[in-house]
Symmetry: D2
Subunit: 395 residues, 4 copies
Amino acid sequence: MPTNAPLNRKLRMGLVGGGQGAFIGRVHATAAILDNRAALVAGALSSDPAKSKASAPDYDIPPDRAYGSYQEMAEAEKKRADPIDFVSIATPNHTHFDIAKTFALAGFNVICDKPMTFDLQQAEELVQIVEQTGIVFVLTHNYTGHPLVRQAREMVLNGDLGEIQAIRAFYIQGWLRTRLESTGQKQASWRTDPKQSGAAGCFGDIGTHAYNLARYISALLPLEVSCQLKTFEPGRALDDYGTAIIRMENGALLTVTASQISHGRENDIFIEIDGTKASLEWHQEEPNKMYVRKNGEPHKVYTRAGGPYLGAAAAQATRIPSGHPEGYLEAFANIYTAGYEAIIQRSTGQRFETVNTIYPNVYDGLDGMLFITRCVESSRENGAWRPLRHPKLRR
Amino acid sequence: MPTNAPLNRKLRMGLVGGGQGAFIGRVHATAAILDNRAALVAGALSSDPAKSKASAPDYDIPPDRAYGSYQEMAEAEKKRADPIDFVSIATPNHTHFDIAKTFALAGFNVICDKPMTFDLQQAEELVQIVEQTGIVFVLTHNYTGHPLVRQAREMVLNGDLGEIQAIRAFYIQGWLRTRLESTGQKQASWRTDPKQSGAAGCFGDIGTHAYNLARYISALLPLEVSCQLKTFEPGRALDDYGTAIIRMENGALLTVTASQISHGRENDIFIEIDGTKASLEWHQEEPNKMYVRKNGEPHKVYTRAGGPYLGAAAAQATRIPSGHPEGYLEAFANIYTAGYEAIIQRSTGQRFETVNTIYPNVYDGLDGMLFITRCVESSRENGAWRPLRHPKLRR
Amino acid sequence: MPTNAPLNRKLRMGLVGGGQGAFIGRVHATAAILDNRAALVAGALSSDPAKSKASAPDYDIPPDRAYGSYQEMAEAEKKRADPIDFVSIATPNHTHFDIAKTFALAGFNVICDKPMTFDLQQAEELVQIVEQTGIVFVLTHNYTGHPLVRQAREMVLNGDLGEIQAIRAFYIQGWLRTRLESTGQKQASWRTDPKQSGAAGCFGDIGTHAYNLARYISALLPLEVSCQLKTFEPGRALDDYGTAIIRMENGALLTVTASQISHGRENDIFIEIDGTKASLEWHQEEPNKMYVRKNGEPHKVYTRAGGPYLGAAAAQATRIPSGHPEGYLEAFANIYTAGYEAIIQRSTGQRFETVNTIYPNVYDGLDGMLFITRCVESSRENGAWRPLRHPKLRR
Amino acid sequence: MPTNAPLNRKLRMGLVGGGQGAFIGRVHATAAILDNRAALVAGALSSDPAKSKASAPDYDIPPDRAYGSYQEMAEAEKKRADPIDFVSIATPNHTHFDIAKTFALAGFNVICDKPMTFDLQQAEELVQIVEQTGIVFVLTHNYTGHPLVRQAREMVLNGDLGEIQAIRAFYIQGWLRTRLESTGQKQASWRTDPKQSGAAGCFGDIGTHAYNLARYISALLPLEVSCQLKTFEPGRALDDYGTAIIRMENGALLTVTASQISHGRENDIFIEIDGTKASLEWHQEEPNKMYVRKNGEPHKVYTRAGGPYLGAAAAQATRIPSGHPEGYLEAFANIYTAGYEAIIQRSTGQRFETVNTIYPNVYDGLDGMLFITRCVESSRENGAWRPLRHPKLRR
């Protein structure tokens, strides 16, 4: 299997989470194998051992590797001759840290859903653990996996946009317009529960995606943030709307706005970036095109796989010819695929990049937790500026 | 002429401004007569008397009513048997107040470009003058003239959107990406000159449009503002980018973002409004459609003149069948047309509405100057909250 | 008035048609004066003399020039010292010829709505009359007045698209989905009446617009046509849907499709043009942008007044800066404005172009009648190929 | 594995085609396993035995099931205790028939790429073989797998659109604008070679997709066709552009237009359908939305997974929440998934639908070959009407 050379075999994947009623677990499982480079071989699919084992056949996991808990999985897999190469964590936010820590300390590579941890302290500790253990750590900020998002970052790094001065990032949804959590709907329940979701609701769940997208494309470091969080739906424990202004180190201004209460809006994460030489606009709901504009010139629409004007980053992240839409799953898979390269490098004793990775990593997870934490603090203090500088952040 | 009943004649228009190199003067002149209900009969087209007279033929103004100054025009017209019915002011910002005051005190109705005055004090004084003189005062916040913008306001007032909780208003341009003012370009020069434009640049010129659009559609009163203004183009004297967060009386959050440095962006004023029952989205660059959304239902695209689902306000503001695009001029003309009703009412001794008008009025001008003033203050104080409450503001 | 130099006065317009219930008469009257270069001074607004006179005040026409019939108008105006410079014909199709002939023979320039005549024979006769009298004849195929349509033609003529090989032109409406004519609705009644509309319904009314747009932009001459016309609405006397295939002289294939029975479709005339070097796409409902595409390059969006990449033809046809939408009225006005240049040239004894005009002319009217006639013939003969060659057609 | 109940195991897939340089083979392999209900276990990946075996590891096919030819594969698999459940055929058109016939006669279910065969005679023979052998036969007209396409068909069948009267189907590409085949590019070479592709080029490759989409959604039977095929690229052996008019049994008019020479157009298959009650519009390049329109009502945008207004067919065909784009792969997978239901039913001795299937079947393949054949005949005879009636066609 040349695509996993020099490992010459499929990667073995373990999954934590993904049991009945879950959404994101199935996405991880599907994305991970989309390019036929990995196989899901083990799982701790639920915190309820019986449910975990009952869900295993859905994922084609053999009974002997359907574990009752993630701890059991980590221990058992460690002893196998053919252990998993990595574990994917697709559980509610508050459990990420313990699971990631357990597997990292056991030497396993980790692919973790976002936000990375429950709070900032956990994030800082996880950074230390990842650095000490030397594992590969991938954070599935999946929107960075879109070919045109990678193209955007490459264009910024190449200087095609000049100096970046203004960024407007948004994530607009409507599905929590009513108190869906009061109906027992699983997705709504944990996301609006401070004990599972963390200090922020909407801003932790999706505001952090918009922030990450801005950071990923712009490669600018943040300085400080002023934030307003709102809870519009009466009785809800966490924010369901918010807007933040972030001053960047180079003087640029970034605004991040997130909503879960905008009727009929589905999953509208979009971004506009203004540079001194050109501007960019990309919308996740139509991910196969991106607008690039310069004053006095026709607006340009870049399309996925549209031609040689696209750089290497976009080309690597696409599977099918232009005009055939790729979407959410493919972008998710691109995160996995990029992680696989690092996993294979580590497995075969090669050096691998840990900081300036094309995939979001543990430092991006820290970045996100710092952002959430400071946003919540700022909002409580009437929008006071709170620092976002941190020595561990990467461009 | 039934459309001007019971006046039974065309309205007589005077124009201040609009000489060579001007853009907005021609727009006023064209919009004013689009429905053949007025004629431009007098003008003080430039602050340079010779230039003023030289420009008169372009506007079909007879020599004897081509005045050397607006003061001369006000005096002379007052003495005529067939004086102008109203004056339109299409000059740089810093001159609006004196001109408006002069004509108001002479008893003439005034149609004035925005921002209404140079500063807040002038705005408050002008409110007093308008109230005392009892003239009709129309402010050409032209984007409120679009049929679907009026539809949006009507829907909000009817409660179709429920309680309004979040508004995102934008005005994104790119034409001042370079220091165009250093080339002597007239439009750029006065707009970036604090002596002509006022305390704010981008926010005074276009941010105020976005704010006005939000206020007009939502009919919500403001409470306080926190603002960040930026000057990205080195050497420019006024802001060319900014973002403001406004807390509304009912608890809603409004964000206003304006840019003049976004490459290739032309005149992209757009707004998104979230209510408890539905959400709205409208873009000026495609003004003939508006999105209305409710969770779980197909997105709806309202089109100008699209059918009986539209209310009276939209119907009155459209001339041609659906699918034939109307644009900037027609919206501008709708402001004039609405003003004409009031002018005719005043001329024929009828009562006329002065506060809750369908056209922007002197109170909206005050609103705009208050907004600009507080935004500049807040920005200077690192984003401190500044009050926006004012007894004269209207819904 | 320099814009009418060397005539140095406004042009005087007469209007035939436009009485109560009319749509297109008002459009002509508004478009004609949009740039303040003409004044409507005379009219025969209805075939009913009383109604004609009663409608005159709506158009600001003085009583002594509100005529009871177009014949009376032609005679009376001829005798005046200040006669009209041109007459605009905005009546149902079957009356165009007699009116145009009357005014042409009286020496008046004519601006006529389309289709030009009731049948092909009339069109050929009118060509002769126009040639003999030497008048200016303008046909208001208004969609050719859009700046980006003119840009498209200029690009084709410059060879920017290479050889044109395939064209797809459409005009899709829905308003005649029901038998609106049975309700007495005026617009529907004459358009579906063979005695007023001519041999074709939908194809005469709007198919001919799509065909004209293709001919105007491509500058290709037609060879022969095969056509299918359908009447889907039971009881309707004329076609309400149709599609035609036209072989062009250079081997290109043009398809024209028109519908009046497509639910919810408003006025969707659009065109796609394939050349060997590039392709074009333009939609009337969003007239301020046009797509230009080349394999392997980003799609380009040209915008009205978007920059120096636009040619002279587009630049001349636009009034306001980019991003402020222009629409139907402005395009209509551009046809008038182009006609005015010729009218002034004739009035001042200069030579003027009569064939390769930027505005649609009498030869385009002939072209349209030939197209309609042959389409109807072909459709009756089961789609047999019918010749479209004619010595009078222009590129 | 409940999703394959009552079979209770993954389906075993064999693949013919898909070797180096192939595009569609990889798509089949990926789509087939997207829902983890099948595994690719055997393959004859190339007509060159050495290349076939060399490609096997790319697909994770064990060496002992990497066959040197499809004949060898059919024989060997027949003898196994765990034979493949179905074979997927992803080879050039001229080989489909022999391969399908071989596997069908051996009792294997077949999933075949389109067009189904090289000519009409083969198609008719294959119908007979499928009927005689009783296998499941799925044709991957993949665009019918999009949730909103299935929604469209369901709406038509429910009568939501009323009687269907006009359909406009298009497939516009640009990639064969130059003679790419002369460079040896594999995709271009076989598609433009009459010996591999069949009697039609563009119309066989993509025109047939547009026709199938129209037939699938409308459920109308065809009567006769008039067609114009063109070869614009000099030296090319097959058509690269064409348009066809199809009269349907109920009196409706269908137009099908396909291009491979439209600069910059990528994969733009789209359709507009006019019914007496409503109209529909869907574009493959933005497959997650569909326009539904009724006169006098706001245009409606249906979105994939957008809410309970969608029917069962759409709901079954979607995996992830609304607003996360699904695309080409997911639609392709939906064809497979629907086929799996029938394969499992056959394997477990249940009855299964063979004619009115939700997936395209052998009768649709016949339909396509009949369409291609008659289009080529009609085009050769100057657009003469050629019959499309056939007793085997399904609604």
